[in-house]
Symmetry: C2
Subunit: 234 residues, 2 copies
């Protein structure tokens, strides 16, 4: 086999590997990154839309706290001015309605992306998703970088995912060590009086779920969730 | 006139004042704020889109430096995978194409908003816009908060708009004082070897333009622009 052939073969193998390297892990990580970016975007552009809206309808801007409802009002009412609202030219209004329409599309896209994330996770990490919910599952996976790695981690590591800043502060300054990161947002931890202990117990179960998912084992996530919920209710 | 009537009259006057208080100043300030927010948004969401695109076409992602061109390729080619690209399911691709479509709309909206800004400034601050260009004019107005205030400022203040951080550093630590803020982005300052002096001369003319616009004077912005360009060319 001459050198040229060897090179050719090598190149083909590399291309094949690159092609196959895209996994559900990467799809999930890309999706949660995009969702988080959209969240930031929607917040900051909604603030700008509120600036505009309060010129035209200063009375009700603060009553419409929810951004999605504000958008609906603007798009459907076509920016009817209120008693105290400014009289704007048609071309001025057009720009504001266009902003609202774009934001509405982005909201819808974000919602569809969350449904999509749930679907990918249903096939890749069903047990983890059952016990943590869609968004926390994705954040844990992103932190570990892959399901393979997540399945090999100690539960104490999983418990502290998302608390890296506080952990380093603890190591450097001797401040109190953190008890939870992303898991603080979990409904069971939220509702518990002993948040640290609950996060610990939850992380234990997540660690088992990660192994079940990696080795394509049974579907026990929901059972674990119910057990934890019963044990740590207020 | 009894108290009730006085109250009523007072309320009416206040409402009238609020209604009339929306001026071209505010339209311009809202528009430049929205444009800047869109710039940030488009950059960060384009980064996320690149993450996706490089899964499917790792060979050409880095060749498409311009985000608008990248979008065009994705939307028109419907994400044809390259030789080394990953094979994605239809539903995976759909999400990516939706992101690209949303971004394309946002780019178009941003462009239309710049045209709109130019129109409002054409009626409100034509001389300033002629000498500084659309975006710098809006930033200077925003900094001053209104044309009325901009017309009363010394040119030295206008010269340093956008350089507040450096100015405070100078005052606190005695570091070298700044020579320009937003004006550094002006084409004539960019092309000049003596940027400080050029910014100074430009600020002088902007200050005159602000007064011309405020008092609805002659249209001299373009003449000043040409004079400066001639004087400070390399």
């Amino acid at each position: 086999m001459d050198i040229e052939k060897l090179k050719q073969k090598n190149l083909e193998l590399t291309k094949k590997k690159v092609k196959e390297s895209v996994s559900d892990d990467q799809l999930i990580i890309n999706t949660i990154n995009t969702i988080e970016e959209l969240d930031k975007t929607l917040n900051s552009l909604s603030m700008r839309l509120r600036d505009w809206f309060s010129l035209i309808n200063p009375e009700t801007e603060h009553q419409l706290q929810d951004n999605e409802i504000l958008l609906k009002v603007i798009v459907e009412d076509e920016l009817q001015k209120s008693e105290m609202g400014a009289v704007l030219k048609k071309q001025d209004k057009e720009q504001i309605i266009k902003l609202a329409a774009n934001l509405k599309n982005l909201f819808e896209y974000k919602n569809s992306l969350e449904v999509y994330l749930e679907e990918v996770q249903e096939r890749h990490i069903p047990n983890i998703q059952d016990i943590t919910g869609t968004l926390i599952a994705a954040k844990l996976l992103r932190e570990a970088k892959s399901l393979r790695k997540l399945a090999t981690l100690q539960s104490g590591t999983i418990q502290l995912f998302g608390a890296e800043k506080a952990l380093f502060r603890h190591i450097k300054t001797g401040a109190r060590p953190p008890k939870y990161g992303f898991l603080l947002n979990h409904i069971i931890v939220q509702n518990s009086k002993e948040k640290g202990k609950t996060a610990r117990a939850l992380a234990d179960k997540i660690s088992i779920c990660a192994r079940l998912d990696y080795f394509k084992g049974e579907r026990l996530g929901t059972k674990y969730f119910e057990e934890l919920k019963e044990k740590w209710k207020k």
